[in-house]
Amino acid sequence: MVNTGFSIGDLDFRNPVLTASGTFGYGTEFEDFLDISSLGGIILKGTTLEPREGNPYPRMAETPSGMLNSVGLQNKGIDYFENFIYPVVSLFDTNVIVNINGSYVEDYVALAARIDKLKKIPAIELNISCPNVKMGGMAFGTDLASAREVTRAVRAVTAKKLIVKLSPNVTSIVDFARVAEEEGADAVSLINTLLGMAVDIRNMKPSLSTITGGLSGPAIKPVALRMVWQVARAVNIPVIGIGGIMTADDAVEFLLAGASAVEVGTASFIDPSVSVQIVKGIEDYLSAKGFSDISEIRGHINRNI
């Protein structure tokens, strides 16, 4: 029997596999395909203060080994969330984490204060890295002073575990991770999507209505892995690795590079049950290698560097 659990402060996760925000809906969409309680946690679709319709169609383009999206944080807002979604997701027997987004610091603060009152939500993922909204989102995640301000402000209003989700669209992601840690974040998650674009040569137009969008999938995995490795060496809080994880082997790469856990994203679109297969695959890897606890492999590659 191997232990694959990990913790963020005093919050325990039964295993290191979470589902990335925006790729797992509110969990209910996946119940035909897996047992949600067998996951370490789920991170819900990005939530904003007001309802958002998102960007116009087309908001997705398939690219080599990946996809671009510009959904634009479509969601029904925090009121609807509290009234209709929270009662459902609070029944899940796993860590249910809300991903929050805003255009102004005040939006994030107001949202965090509302989530703080929801007993069954143990953690907030602060999304300062969405590339698909005109105001806010990535604007916070690509400017150090803004990232500091929003993290500090949110930290002040919530006792929930605070995970700051970082943007890869910066020169030095390590600087942003350090700022998050300094301002009291309990963990960082990275990477959000890489800003990209595609052109439809048949119609001679951009493939996305917004022209640019966020790239995800295996295409970004090497970039994500490099950033996770850099960040994990630079901070003392847990690092959650995200980016193109399709298999348990991919997840293990992130763990060996220093991640405490992973978020599975785009892979769930292709196989909605893949996250539980990754849980199992990580256990199998540890057993096969003769380890009894996942912490034994965390950052293992650094030992010989």
Binding site: E29, G54, Y57, T63, Q74
Partner: protein
């Protein structure tokens, strides 16, 4: 209706013409209940350019034999790969997905109108309706005689009318020009095809106070309502084609 992921076995791959083929897929056990209008997300492996699944309408469904059929047009690498599948090959699919066409009310006369590849969901719908005591009339539009698909199969379930753009078979012109449409004989039209065709038909139905449901084809990520990529702009805001559709009443669309 429980959705599932399953490897189905290819039991027939029938070439209809240069562009189209049908795939018969058989499950090793009982199939879940599938309704006309629903679709499957097919995984096509072996190429970095077919990263995401591809949605296909359920063309026909035979639960007694655990069989499903898909009608496929070769348009790119993914469908080209599918066209080479042989009996015994496995195909991974997630199904049944999406909503379905609504049944006509007792006594209502349905017309099924499909253009090109859009005829795909209508064969199963025709079978379903005729099995429930309705006498559907079926109007199918193609570019020319060579492209007419499965005429005889549709004949099993109702009267079939054909239009071709060049007049090489049936009525010349677009499907929306066919006199059966203006006969005033129908209470509800079920439609699938190219968007301009569906829009024209929707317009006609609205003007003549005929109910109209269309099956939309949008680019999809997941097919289960998680990614929110396939949205359609409706009177109720952006809705997912995969879970709120693919079938929409035209009154709900901003057409």
């Amino acid at each position: 209706m429980t959705k599932r992921i399953e490897d189905l076995i290819v039991t027939d791959n029938k070439r209809l013409n240069k562009e189209y083929f049908t795939l018969e897929l058989t499950s090793s056990g009982p199939l879940p209940e599938v309704k006309p209008g629903q679709f499957a997300q097919i995984r096509i492996e072996g190429s970095q350019s077919t990263f995401l699944r591809r949605p296909f309408s359920i063309h026909d469904y035979d639960p007694s034999e655990n069989k499903i059929r898909l009608l496929v047009q070769i348009v790119g690498k993914g469908t080209e790969t599918l066209s080479r599948l042989k009996n015994g090959d496995r195909l991974n699919m997630i199904f049944p997905l999406g909503n379905s066409f609504s049944l006509p009310l007792d006594g209502q006369k349905p017309l099924l109108a499909g253009g090109g590849c859009g005829i795909a969901p209508l064969l199963f719908l025709a079978r379903y309706l005729s099995g429930r005591g309705f006498a559907p009339e079926i109007l199918l539009g193609f570019r020319n005689k060579e492209r007419i698909l499965e005429y005889d199969d549709y004949l099993n379930f109702g009267k079939v009318f054909i239009t071709t753009e060049d007049g090489s078979e049936g009525q010349k012109g677009f499907l929306t020009d066919h006199p059966v449409l203006s006969s005033g004989d129908h209470d509800i039209v079920y439609c699938c095809g190219p968007e301009p065709m569906m829009k024209a038909l929707a317009c006609f139905c609205r003007d003549h106070d005929i109910e109209c449901e269309v099956s939309l084809e949008h680019l999809m990520g997941c097919g289960i309502g998680a990614c929110l990529c396939c949205v359609v702009d409706t009177v109720n805001g952006n809705l997912c084609t995969c879970t709120d559709g693919p079938v929409f009443n035209v009154n709900d669309l901003k057409w």
